[in-house]
């Protein structure tokens, strides 16, 4: 049998280069599909030798989009390294920063990546299917309003973290600055904008997607579906948490199959190395490596907005809880395996984060003076937070002066590596038939990985707003016989 190879190149992800290689059989149907990644800049190596207190502002640069999560995860790890219990005030400041970050990050992702497919249309002219096209579709005033309300969150990050991107104010056991009463009031005022943004976003989702039968068929159908286990963080009432909690794992039927905190991640997660991708594939250790396959019994798991909602029993704020119930009623059960629901879950979380910003800024004790804790002798620690894209794990070992000796990082996009492979495989199998590949396929395949919000993708295409994709079709002799592109 001769195989034809189609490369969809590039995809975007965190730092580097991703592509999808599709192999077609003699009949022009999909034989197999591979999602390949380059994601190696060597952080785990070059952080060694640095003082642990310098790590948060450094690891922030793993990603300029989801910088605050690396920042917060690593400072939590630094607390543990120093055996320090962060003060309640410092904890609140960090949680406030993280939730403000959720607001701006989820907004960027939804409006730049998620919504254009629906507002402008999944197979519409690619030239208009982007943030700029979206702004044209909803009107310049609306575009301005959304960006203005998102900026409210960016401003909070700068106020608390020192810089809007790559913050600096984290310290082991605490925070480098206090929050003044003026700042608290300003953040409280800004939080109103954020809550409005959350409500507006859900309304847009409702108007554009939920009321459109064709779109709902995509959202609830079988093509964009990956049946796997889920991992996410919950509080003592099993409600979604971003800053701190217990990591809960449920299986494909929604049954709890594991819980861990801190170093317990090593009992549950292992990462398999593949020769054809720079990105490892994590799987649930107790279920064993079964390859890249989904369905009942799979050891692959997903993280991120949909995973968080799937592992939880609800949200911890009223407006978001209402939206949560609405979503699961629409799907008629849990867990939801339809990956386009990631966008819906993202919109619900945006509102949840905005409500939390409001709640935290309403708490006058956040201006307390106690932002530093007693530090013990440093050795080893793990910090786990929910990144916008899912569970994020930072693990450090230091010498007794707090100089980093060993590092292990598992970032959200890595957890999703297996499921993303499944998602693009399924979409390609569905849409590429009898050798027929056309322009529309580009975006329909794109739509299979976009829900996972592959880390950098969200930010990097926001301006032209589309992912430039090209399909190259080679014959069995390796001759290029066809090229299709969306730009």
């Amino acid at each position: 049998m001769t195989l034809k190879k189609i490369e969809i190149n590039p995809m975007t992800r965190l730092e580097g280069h991703g592509k999808i290689s599709v192999f077609l059989n003699d009949r022009g149907n999909v034989d197999d599909v591979f999602f390949q990644t380059v994601e190696l800049r060597g952080y785990e190596r070059f952080l060694t030798g640095m003082p642990i207190e310098e790590v948060p502002r450094t690891v922030s640069t793993i990603c300029g989009v989801c910088r605050c999560v690396h920042f917060v995860a690593s400072v939590k790890a630094a607390d543990a390294v120093y055996h320090a219990e962060p003060t309640p005030t410092a904890g609140k400041i960090r949680e406030l920063l993280l939730n403000a970050h959720y607001v701006e990050d989820h907004t960027a992702v939804l409006y730049a990546l998620g919504f254009p497919d629906f507002v402008v249309g999944p197979t519409a002219d690619a030239a208009g299917r982007n943030l700029i096209g979206l702004i044209q579709a909803v009107g310049v005033d609306m575009g301005r309003l959304i960006l203005k309300k998102r900026y409210a969150a960016v401003k909070v990050i700068e106020m608390l973290g020192g810089k809007p991107i790559h913050p600096v104010a984290a310290l082991p056991g605490g925070w480098s600055k206090r929050v003044t009463e003026e700042e608290r009031k300003e953040i409280l005022a800004l939080s109103t904008e954020m809550v409005e943004l959350g409500q507006l976003t859900l309304k847009i989702f409702d108007d554009v997607v939920l009321r459109n039968k064709e779109y709902m068929d995509l959202v609830t159908g079988e093509v964009y579906k990956v049946e796997c286990n889920y991992m996410g963080t919950v509080d003592e009432k099993n409600r979604v948490q971003f800053y701190d909690g217990t990591q809960r794992i449920v299986d494909t039927a929604g049954r709890e199959i594991g819980r861990f905190t801190g170093e317990g991640y090593l009992d549950h997660i292992a990462e398999r190395v593949l020769p054809w991708s720079y990105l490892k594939v994590p799987y649930l250790k107790r279920l064993g490596w079964k390859g890249i396959t989904d369905g009942e019994g799979t050891s692959l798991y997903s993280v991120g907005p949909l995973a968080r909602l799937n592992v939880a029993d609800g949200m911890d704020t009223p407006l978001a809880q209402e939206a949560y119930e609405k979503m699961y009623t629409a799907f008629g059960g849990k867990p939801v395996h339809n990956i386009l629901a990631y966008h819906w879950a993202r919109a619900i979380e945006l509102l949840n984060a905005a409500e939390k910003v409001q709640r935290l800024a309403s708490d006058e004790s956040i201006t307390g003076p106690d932002v530093g804790a007693e530090l013990g002798t440093p050795d080893e620690g793990v910090g786990v937070v929910e990144a916008a894209r899912g569970v994020l794990i930072h693990h450090y070992k230091t010498d007794n002066r707090g100089i980093v000796r060993e590092v292990n990082l598992i970032v959200a996009t890595t957890h999703n590596n297996g499921p993303i492979n499944m998602a693009v495989k399924r979409a390609a199998r569905h849409f590429i038939k009898n050798g027929k590949v056309d322009e529309g396929i580009l975006n329909l395949v794109e739509m299979a990985y976009r829900p996972y919000d592959i880390c950098l993708a969200c930010a990097t295409h926001t301006l032209p707003g589309r992912l430039p994709l090209e399909l190259e079709v080679y014959d069995h002799a390796g001759e290029l016989c066809k090229t299709l592109r969306n730009f």
């Binding site: 310098e54 640069t61 702004i135 310290l171 292992a270």
Partner: protein, 319 residues
């Protein structure tokens, strides 16, 4: 369209923070869009993009913003293509201009980086000792390729001629808001120079003794931020926190010292300085009261060259 400025943006090995600094222009962005013709904005490295760019006439793009350092073969290629197609090429942000944080990878060999990532990390499961390959045959029939991961990181100027440099990790959006209209208006400084407000972080810092008419004194101790909070309103360097604001461009507005955190030099070197790390070492050393203090500085290379190792005379670790 003739009156619009044609802009190309390429994210190389960076983190996307530089892109976000543009998004953070927020409402201003909506106002700028009608004046820009964004012909190219590539998220990551790939063959197709340079073919796409290659299809455009040489010098047909007014301004190219290049963010991120060079670590992969395609990134190097893209730098050359961007150079050919753009009349003006800007190294935008610390990674492109100096190598940036990932440039600290130059303290380690490629083998060490791979050994850590694929063998030694605690959660890695690699029973067959697999290492990602630039070319590999899966199941005997699927041939898959990966781009080459170079042995070290380089800044943009090592692979293409750079017209202007913009510092910052990332540049602050307020500075971007000042730079972009200049770009739109075609008003640039002398070729090869940094686009900067020409002030050091110290010049903008409320803690600067000179502003208060006080003298700089010798430093008697070296402090880390874990040694307790600094005194309000007092120079961090004077207190022993190794702040590099004196040799760093202050286009950020001296943000880090405002929240009691020392500057680490992401803004790039003040005008006239070729090697940031060297100048930073010299600035700090000249203030130390005694030589013993030098031994108390943890990992000096990863402090003084944190954002600029690949662009420095050190460049990378040889062995």
């Amino acid at each position: 369209m003739a009156d619009k400025v044609k802009l190309a943006y390429y994210l190389s090995g960076g983190c996307g923070g530089c892109d976000m600094a543009i998004i953070d222009l927020s409402e201003n962005l909506v106002d700028l869009l009608p004046r820009l013709d964004v012909v190219f904005w590539a998220p990551t490295v790939a063959d197709v993009k340079y073919r796409d760019l290659e299809g455009l006439p040489d010098k047909s793009i007014d301004v190219g913003l290049f963010s991120g350092m060079i670590r992969l073969s395609e990134q190097e290629h893209m730098a050359a293509i961007m150079r050919r197609k753009c009349r003006t090429l800007i190294a935008y942000g610390a990674c492109a201009a100096l190598g940036g944080i990932p440039g600290m990878g130059n303290m380690h060999s490629k083998e060490e980086i791979f050994q850590t990532a694929y063998f030694d990390t605690l959660s890695t499961d690699n029973p067959d000792g697999v290492i990602p390959q630039t070319r590999c045959l899966v199941d005997g029939k699927y041939e898959l390729t990966l781009p080459e991961f170079y042995r070290y990181v380089r800044p943009l100027q090592d692979v293409a001629e750079v017209d202007y440099f913009v510092g910052g990790c990332p540049p602050h959006h307020s500075f971007v808001a000042r730079v972009i209209p200049d770009i739109l208006g075609g008003s640039f400084p002398a070729p090869g120079s940094w686009i900067t407000s020409d002030k050091a972080v110290c010049a903008l810092c409320d803690r600067n003794p000179a502003v208060k008419g006080e003298e700089m004194k010798l430093i008697k101790t070296i402090k880390r931020t874990t040694d307790g909070p600094p005194e309000e309103g007092k120079c961090l360097l004077q207190q022993g926190y190794l702040c590099l604001g004196a040799v760093t461009q202050g286009d950020c507005g001296a943000l880090c010292p405002k929240v009691n955190i020392p500057c680490r030099g992401c803004g790039g070197p003040v005008p006239g300085v070729k090697d940031f790390g060297l100048r930073a070492i010299s600035a700090v050393a000249s203030l130390l009261e005694n030589e013993e203090l030098v031994d108390r500085i943890p990992s000096p290379v990863k402090l003084f060259y944190r954002y600029s190792l690949p662009a420095s005379m050190l460049g990378r670790k040889i062995k």
